[in-house]
């Protein structure tokens, strides 16, 4: 017997609910569509009936969508969730994905690309029967890429890790391009693959995207996994370690040049290793100043009750400096005097995030 899935649509707009009921009930799997106009009502309905999918708005009175989603994630972990919102805000998108939603769509995009949205919806409803899954928080990037490729889908994966944003273009189940921080193709893919955490979302496909990756995705995944293993496994030969160290240094220098910074000095906390510097010969005095300044500023902040130290900036006629203090490692970034002062903090954070990746 064919299983008839149930969809619950949660929105405070009655017209939208009526429209949703009409549209979603026309899906090929003919799901049963139920609606709720408040978070409390939706939760009560979920307690009494088993739903396959929750489509949730974000901006609602009393209990907003993010609150509902956080409860749903705990109480009904098997439930697939889609956010359909009118709020075009990256922060809401990130927060929703952090709560483990399967899809985030803007209402406007949904109206423009109704067919694609319905395909995504049908796919989410069907994956249970096919034994598939889509648990965002518990899956590695390898799982996600394999899943997209195996299902022969066309999509753009947008992966975010702190201030870093990467994209992967998948066309008919083939990985055709990747881009991160100015790098493209296989090099970009390897760099993204090394990321241990982050959030991702599916964007509409871009069929006209130029192909830069010709290797089959499985070969690429295997190579990248091997490279990651070798990097993490200290039992490799001294020659290969030396090579890897050299490659890493060249890559970091290229990063420094590309971002336009003069130098970077990374200073681990006392007793946790040696400072690392690129672009300057004065590692020792600069790391001593970094360590000492971070210490002075932290103590001063405590004494005058000014809150945690965010960063220290300084300049003279030749240089601009930005010190990012961290518990385990402080980083001093030197910029030329011509660099836009207002953007140095963001640029430095981005540089440090790339440096660490």
């Amino acid at each position: 017997m064919e299983i008839k899935h149930k969809i619950l649509v949660l929105d405070d707009d009655a017209d939208w609910l009526a429209l949703s009921r009409e549209i979603f009930s026309q899906l090929p799997s003919k799901p049963e569509v139920r609606t709720a106009s408040s978070g409390a009502r939706a939760l009560a309905m979920m307690e009494n009936e088993q739903f396959r999918l929750l489509i949730c708005d974000l901006k609602m009175p009393r209990m907003d969508g993010l609150q509902v989603l956080s409860i749903v994630r705990r109480r009904f972990p098997e439930l697939r969730t889609i956010v359909l919102s009118g709020l075009e805000d990256e922060e809401f998108r990130s927060r929703a994905y952090a709560l483990g939603v399967d899809l985030f769509w803007l209402k406007l995009d949904m109206q423009r690309n109704t067919k694609m949205f319905l395909d995504c919806l049908e796919s989410l409803l069907g994956r249970d029967a096919e034994g598939g899954f889509r648990g965002i928080q518990s899956k590695s990037l390898m799982d996600i890429i394999q899943m997209e490729c195996l299902s022969r889908s066309s999509t753009v994966l947008r992966i975010t890790r702190g201030p870093l944003v990467a994209k992967m273009w998948i066309q008919n189940g083939e990985l055709i391009d990747a881009e991160v921080e100015g790098a493209r193709g296989e090099a970009a893919f390897r760099r993204i693959f090394a990321w241990k955490s982050g959030t991702f979302e599916n964007l509409p496909p871009e069929p006209g995207r130029e192909r830069t990756i010709t290797k089959p995705v499985n070969a690429l995944l295997l190579e990248s996994a091997q490279a990651t293993d070798e990097h993490e496994n200290p039992s490799a030969t001294p020659e290969s370690l030396e090579d890897a160290g050299h490659r890493k240094m060249v890559w970091k220098l290229a990063l420094l040049t590309r971002e336009g910074a003069d130098f970077v000095v990374a200073v681990p906390a006392e007793g946790r290793g040696e400072p690392e510097a690129l672009g300057t010969q004065a590692t020792e005095p600069l790391s001593a100043w970094t360590r000492r300044t971070a210490e002075i500023a932290r103590k001063l902040g405590d004494k005058i009750e000014a809150g945690p130290l965010s960063h220290v900036a300084g300049h003279n006629l030749e240089k601009q400096l930005l010190l990012l203090p961290r518990a385990n490692k402080s980083v001093l970034v030197g910029w030329p005097p011509t660099a836009a002062a207002g953007q140095l903090l963001e640029q430095s954070k981005k540089l440090v995030a790339s440096w660490d990746s």
């Binding site: 004065a282 005095p285 100043w289 300044t293 001063l300 000014a306 965010s310 220290v312 003279n316």
Partner: protein, 104 residues
């Protein structure tokens, strides 16, 4: 009466809430305050402490062969900007709260 006494005791037992400093301070090379526009309610010892720490940062930067003309310490609720002034410093204090005037 007993109730009021308890309330008074409760409030006097709590540490006083100190306002964040706002204004500018000029300090000489010895860390002594020359002039200040910061409210006199703000403890002068803490202002001197800020001055001493700022001078230490400038001094250590000179020792690292990287003399600085200006340094800014950004805390969650306060920004301290200091300009080097012939061994002393001119320090600007900007509280970073929603109600504070924005710095130029």
């Amino acid at each position: 009466m007993g109730f009021l006494k308890k309330i008074t005791q409760l409030f006097s037992a709590r540490p006083a809430i100190r306002q964040l400093p706002f204004g500018s301070v000029a300090i000489d090379r010895n860390g002594q305050i020359v002039t200040s526009t910061v409210s006199s309610a703000y403890p002068p010892e803490l202002l001197r402490e800020i001055g001493r720490d700022v001078l230490a940062i400038f001094r250590e930067a000179r020792e690292a062969q990287m003399p600085l003309a200006e340094v800014s310490l950004h805390f969650a609720s306060l920004r301290i900007t200091a300009r080097e002034l012939r061994g002393g410093a001119l320090i600007f204090l900007f509280p970073q709260t929603g109600l504070s005037p924005l710095p130029n």
